[in-house]
């Protein structure tokens, strides 16, 4: 029983990172109906840039956070202009393959910046975990969870209480109707991309500072986890992205405990495949391009 609760705690906190990643992917997918394969790499470039700044200047966490977010937003906007804006009315395959090509580009840029396989990153929190009875919760994980909640809250407010939010939801609902209502779909897409990248940058920063290290696997890892979580929650819905992220975290935590680390990923993929094959109604069958 204790293990179950602890695993659930671990699952939820891991899931918070996945949820943030999934939200970033879903925002882009919702507005552009395309998967952005460069999302993880942009986050990686953001984290690497922050690491580079840390190595050069020893700057504090807040500065590094800002650097990570800015670098990711810059990378994300570059991807949007090069891979998505030109193909908006055309082939989805072209956009996704282009985003993959830039994935390669961004990863190489990052590794040129910092060639080694592992770098230390300042810790998000110096103290030990919180302990309640037999359970423990790392403060870093709690911070990530809080960040995820904050992002959701702010996101919800923006989407439902601002003019920009209406434009975003309009574009997600029906891009043509949005154009006819006088909304500049291209400008909205670019801005959503930037917001999504900012969230990604924040997530990347939280992950590397929580693990106190940066590795080149961050790009691929973020992409896989984010897309997996996004699809588990039903493609295209923001609440779904959050649910998918949490679900993925929980599934992984429990599978790892009962079946071992190798099966952890296997179960997640199996679940996704099974869900896709069964296509339950909540899996949002809106045309995925």
């Amino acid at each position: 029983m204790i293990d179950f609760v602890q695993n659930t705690l671990d699952g939820v906190t891991a899931g918070a990172s996945y949820a943030l990643l999934a939200v970033g992917f879903t925002l882009i997918f919702g507005v552009l109906r395309r998967a952005n394969l460069s999302y993880g790499p942009a986050i990686m470039l953001g984290a690497y840039t922050a690491t580079w700044v840390f190595l050069q200047t020893g700057a504090g966490l807040i500065v590094l956070l800002v650097v990570a977010v800015l670098a990711t937003v810059l990378a994300g906007s570059y991807v949007e202009r090069l891979c998505f804006a030109p193909h908006r009315k055309g082939a989805a395959a072209a956009a996704m393959v282009a985003s993959f090509a830039i994935w390669m580009q961004l990863e190489e840029l990052a590794t040129l910046l910092l060639p080694r396989h592992l770098y230390a990153f300042p810790a998000l929190y110096e103290g030990g975990p919180l302990i309640f009875g037999p359970f423990f919760l790392r403060v870093e994980s709690l911070l990530i969870l809080l960040a995820a909640i904050a992002v959701c809250f702010v996101g919800w407010k923006v989407l439902y209480a601002t003019r920009f939010g209406i434009a975003v939801r309009a574009v997600i609902d029906d891009p043509r109707a949005a154009e006819l209502s006088g909304i500049d779909v291209g400008a909205v897409s670019l801005r959503v991309f930037a917001v999504s990248s900012a969230i990604g940058g924040l997530t990347g920063f939280l992950i590397v500072s929580s693990h106190e290290q940066v590795t080149p696997m961050l790009g691929m890892w973020s992409t896989l986890k984010g897309m997996l979580a996004m699809m588990l929650g039903g493609l295209g819905s923001l609440p779904g992205a959050i649910a998918g992220g949490l679900a993925l975290g929980l599934i992984e935590a429990h599978s790892q405990w009962y079946l071992g680390p190798q099966f952890r990923d296997f179960i997640a993929y199996l679940l996704l495949f099974a869900l896709l094959a069964a296509r339950p109604p909540w899996m949002n069958t809106r045309s995925a391009y």
Binding site: R176, E179, L180, G182, D184, G186
Partner: protein, 235 residues
């Protein structure tokens, strides 16, 4: 007000508009009739900026607008109520109106009031999701939404499509009302009978070209209807 000259729009190799020319005078109701596939929707989409023409010109109040994107066209004062209505299904009626007023930023509460006065049924359903409205209500919402941008020229693509006769009558009453309020209207219609009752001028379009223009009465109504549905006898 609107002057279209030799407009050519193509999908790849297929030319949907083969040199369309027509005029819409300010303050009038102009109607475009023609069989399916004639290119009427393509013309509307081109004027609205969704499609880019290959050649030709569209002048609106002396300004060339053919190459502008859709949102810039709305900014110039042209709004399109598209075929199939196109509301935002997961947003409420009120939010749909807000979206329509996007370029106005704020200060459009009056327009919302006016929309609700004109379409009382929308007021009843203000908090309802647009996707759950009936066909007729969605049509009204689409019109109300287009009006939120205070257009000088309202384009309507088949407003009566798929609607019950009573609802169609309501729509045309509203069209007449809008005209009285000073909005210029350019509408595409399959229902030639209703359209000719309100139009000041009409055009017939077949296979990407305008084949006839005149005012109601210049051609016998059943001749018009025949050509609108079947095209002219020379094929």
């Amino acid at each position: 007000m609107l002057s279209v000259r030799e407009l050519v729009t193509a999908y790849g190799k297929i030319e949907a508009l083969r040199g369309v020319s027509l005029e819409v005078t300010q303050g009038s109701i102009t109607c475009l009739l023609g069989p399916n596939g004639a290119g009427k929707t393509t013309l509307m989409m081109t004027i609205a900026g969704i499609l880019k023409p290959r050649s030709g010109s569209i002048r609106f109040s002396e300004n060339e607008i053919a190459a502008l994107p859709a949102h810039a066209i709305v900014a110039r004062g042209i709004a399109l109520v598209p075929e199939n209505r196109l509301v935002f299904p997961s947003m409420t009626v009120l939010e749909n109106l807000h979206a329509g007023a996007y370029q106005r930023k704020n200060g459009f509460d009056d327009d919302i009031e006016r929309a609700f006065t004109r379409f009382p049924r929308l007021k009843e359903r203000a908090a309802q999701l647009a996707g759950t409205l009936s066909g007729g209500e969605q049509q009204m919402l689409a019109v109300a939404r287009a009006l939120m941008s205070r257009p000088k020229l309202l384009l309507m693509d088949e407003p009566s499509l798929g609607l019950a006769p009573l609802v169609v009558e309501e729509i045309f009453t509203i069209i007449a009302e809008l005209h009285r309020d000073g909005v210029t209207i350019f509408l595409v219609e399959q229902n030639a009978h209703m359209a000719l009752k309100v139009a000041h001028r009409f055009y017939l379009m077949e296979q990407g070209r305008v084949t006839f223009s005149g005012d109601p009465g210049s051609l016998a109504e059943d001749e018009v209807i025949r050509r609108a549905y079947l095209g002219s006898s020379k094929s």
